[in-house]
């Protein structure tokens, strides 16, 4: 594995943007500024960024209800995202999707998805699409430990293996599906092992370590693009906030949360690149400031944007009807 300076800076910038974005939403939700359900990705940044670092605009991802991180990592504009989450006309989905359905098909982001297990079949289709065209496009399919138990996920793992589709399945195992821990919900004690069961390599990756994710995803996408078929990466991680904003988080201990915050992916990145003499602290500090400014700007953009005209409700159901 090799990482040039530009890639390292890109990785840190995207992770920091996601963290700032989510922390700001956490505050703004508590202040009553955000309608609806919001599921925050803070804590899991290393996964989205370590995976999307291998993708171009013409590659695809499918996402989950916890999709902001995937969107930012794939290059969706944060102003449009923030406006969307505020329900504004300038939102990337004109205020019709909200947090759970942010998408940017032109950048290969096939949508956050409110249905647990909704994405994997779509990912098979995106993979199939590139395959039939004979391109080297690849697809990343994000799902969670909850999604791992849906039949659609099992079916998609099988179909992708049968057709050797260029899809990388990334299970973000953050240990809780809503309130339900994986101790309770995972019958066989392995999610990675399900890959093997369906005929593809399944491995466990430290989802708090962006370098571990980057390296594993790099090999998985190489396999995908070379026609060697799909891979399942079980990235073990943790969400810092509740299932959704407003969740009192009565189902896990504060000690456990503190432990994961000690293994924060941004802090881990800093210590690795500084110990390894790969980047300077000042460069990282500058990115921190830049990310803070970008989020302040995104909020200002969202707040100054108009609400949609109510009649806009009627548009965009069909291309033509």
């Amino acid at each position: 594995m090799d990482l040039d300076r530009d890639k390292l800076l890109w990785i840190y910038r995207r992770m920091r943007q996601i963290r700032e974005f989510e922390n700001r939403l956490h505050e703004d939700f508590a202040a009553g500024l955000i309608p609806g359900f919001v599921h925050l990705y803070a804590g899991e940044e290393a996964i989205a960024v370590g995976v999307c670092a291998h993708l171009d605009d013409d590659d695809f991802i499918t996402s989950t209800h916890r999709g902001h991180g995937h969107c930012i990592a794939k290059g969706v504009e944060i102003n449009g995202m923030m406006a969307e989450i505020r329900g504004k006309a300038s939102g990337c989905c004109k205020g019709k999707g909200g947090s759970m359905h942010i998408a940017d098909v032109d950048r290969g982001m096939l949508g956050a998805n409110g249905i647990v297990g909704g994405g994997p079949p779509l990912a098979c289709g995106a993979g199939l699409s590139g395959r039939i065209r004979g391109s080297r496009q690849a697809t990343a399919c994000f799902f969670g430990d909850g999604g791992s138990n849906q039949g659609t996920t099992a079916e998609s793992l099988n179909l992708a293996a049968v057709w050797k589709l260029p899809v990388v399945f990334i299970c973000e195992n953050n240990r809780y599906a809503e309130t339900t821990s994986t101790d309770y919900s995972i019958g066989g004690p392995d999610i990675a092992g399900r890959g093997t069961a369906f005929g593809m390599p399944g491995i466990v990756v430290d989802g708090q370590d962006v370098f571990a994710v980057y390296e594993a995803a790099g090999e998985a996408f190489r396999r995908a693009r070379d026609g060697e078929g799909p891979t399942l990466l079980e990235c073990q991680t943790y969400r810092y906030f509740g299932h959704f904003e407003g969740d009192e988080i009565k189902y896990r201990t504060r000690d456990e949360e503190a432990h994961y915050r000690e293994r924060d992916c941004l802090e881990n990145f800093r210590s690795v690149v500084l110990d390894g003499e790969l980047l300077e602290a000042e460069e990282l500090d500058a990115i921190d400031r830049e990310a803070e400014t970008a989020i302040v700007d995104a909020v200002a953009f969202a707040e100054s944007s108009p609400l949609p005209d109510p009649a806009e409700c009627l548009n965009d159901v069909y291309v033509a009807y």
Partner: protein
Amino acid sequence: MAERELTYRGAINEALRLEMRRDESVFIMGEDIAGAPGRDDPEMVDAWGGVLKVTEGLINEFGPERVRDTPITESAFIGAGVGAAATGMRPVVELMFIGFMGVTLDQIINQAAKMRYMFGGKAKIPLVIRTTIGAGFRAAAQHSDATYSTFVHFPGLKVVAPATPYDAKGLLISAIRDDDPVIFCENKVLYDTTGPVPEEDYTVPLGPAGHPRDGADVTIVAISRMVSISLEAADRLAADGIEADVVDLRCLSPWDEDAIIGSIEKTGRLVVVDEDNPRCSMASDVAALAASRALGYLDAPVQMITAPHTPVPFSPPLEDYYVPKADAIVEAVRAIT
């Protein structure tokens, strides 16, 4: 246009063939649409050509990449159709029987139907799901439904149910070229019926109703196989001097409200004939349309001739009882004229 008789099955096969020739982004997939996938033995290729042989021969022209046999995994391959459609292809996916929609409904109603809207109009899903409907094969409750109304309920989907070989070809070509997801319902009892079908490609637009019979005394709105049964009833009524105006509701969503209203304006009487179960159905929807937009023209209560509110039974006399018949239509018309 060169025209010859073709079966409903052959018309659909021809539409697929022409569209796959015309557009490389069109591909088809489904369970056993060729058969014996993965076998090298040339004798085994196209072992089935589709469970009812609708896709027979296509694999020989287009190969297994574009005529793609799937495992029995409806959620995954219907969803893969949605994903492929969202990323630049025009998949035509076969759901063997409409009863199997229960296995895969999420991918149709939450993904295919809603993506464009949820994404603010920035996605298009040019997907066709071909499926079979209809009782008459002694195939019992899970392989015989005509539950297209389920899909009509969901905004974002288009639903089509051709009654003739001509419409089957023209509507399928339109459906494939359409940029929205279309559920294309083929009545399996009609597969062997024949009719004139031009050899060239042509389209029948999604929306307008067909108008196979003109009459001034009663409007009969019929769907799919019920069109021919309604025409049979109309012939018998004509012998008694009652002229039925038969509307073929070949497009269920979008649908042709004006054709229905216009006919009611002309006749003052409405009978709806639908092979689906009666509650929350196309029949009740047409009746509601008449009540809300044409009540002033109606001289008599709307009559709904539908299957009973039961699953489709197996035993021949039970199944025969289930399917609406010309007798019932004639009786209903006589009751209001």
